[in-house]
């Protein structure tokens, strides 16, 4: 099934020729390490409670979520506005950052469900783990890793959520293929991300500063 995705769907960006993927990843990690450690510094995107309000996060969802996880929130959408998660479901949060969405999901699915939050930035994963401990969320597990090699078994997840991360995949097709792998047949994808109205040039696609903002 995934082979057909690769061969048959136009418009899905694959690996970009000339893009230094390792340098891009380091640049993104550096940026989001600052979002983890100094969330109020001021970025080209909103963060924290102000952002949650812009994205229509319900106050009830944020009740009991540690302030650290909220402060370093840097999403671009609202995966939960698409539909609620159900008790007992298994969820993978791709690019979980400081863990706000994973912790909201953990509460929605309850003790019989499970969340795996994955992020490539060590500082974000550390902050997410601290928040899970503070919130006593026992049904969520934060792991460091890349979207292109998610630490979850084939067909494990009922739902994949993500928020502002797909645009940072250097190879969209590889990331989407991996998300399809961990989803059960019929499994749902509920993502927030960004859309550009004007095409980015091939040179622009290799410009790491442009990827960052």
């Amino acid at each position: 099934m995934t082979a057909n995705i690769e061969s048959s769907v136009p418009g899905v960006s694959r690996a970009i020729e000339g893009l230094d993927v390792e340098r891009l990843r380091r640049a993104i990690q550096d940026e989001y390490a600052v979002v983890a450690s100094e969330p109020d510094r001021g970025f080209h995107f909103h963060t924290g409670r102000r952002l949650a309000a812009i994205l229509a996060y319900e106050e009830a969802w944020l009740d009991g979520i540690p302030e650290g996880a909220i402060a370093s929130f840097a999403g671009t959408g609202n995966p939960f506005s698409i539909g609620p998660l159900q008790p007992g479901e298994k969820v993978v949060d791709v690019g979980c950052g400081a863990g706000i969405d994973s912790l909201i999901a953990a509460r929605m699915i309850g003790p019989t469900g499970r969340v795996i939050g994955v992020d490539m930035t060590p500082e974000m994963v550390a902050k997410a783990r601290a928040s899970a401990e503070e919130a006593r969320a026992l049904n969520v597990d934060f792991r460091q890793g890349f979207a292109e090699s998610l630490p979850a078994e084939d067909g494990w997840a009922d739902v994949a959520i993500s928020n502002g991360v797909l645009n940072l995949f250097p190879d969209k097709l590889a990331g989407l293929r991996e998300i399809a792998r961990v989803l059960k047949p019929g499994g749902r994808l509920q993502f927030g991300d960004i859309l550009v109205a004007k095409a980015v040039s091939e040179k622009g696609k290799r410009d790491i500063d442009l990827w960052k903002g």
Binding site: M1, N4, H46, S81
Partner: protein
Amino acid sequence: MDFEITWRGDVYKDAPQASSAAKFGTIGINFRARRARNDDEWARALAMLSCTV
């Protein structure tokens, strides 16, 4: 399959630092999709696919 953009919004307006968002008309979106239940369903979805790039 069943891809749908459910929301669009200007999430960069009044951000603390300037960015390329305005230059590229960048907006925030929510979208949903699902993995096909089986190969037959996926094949039917591909056959109906229409995409302009």
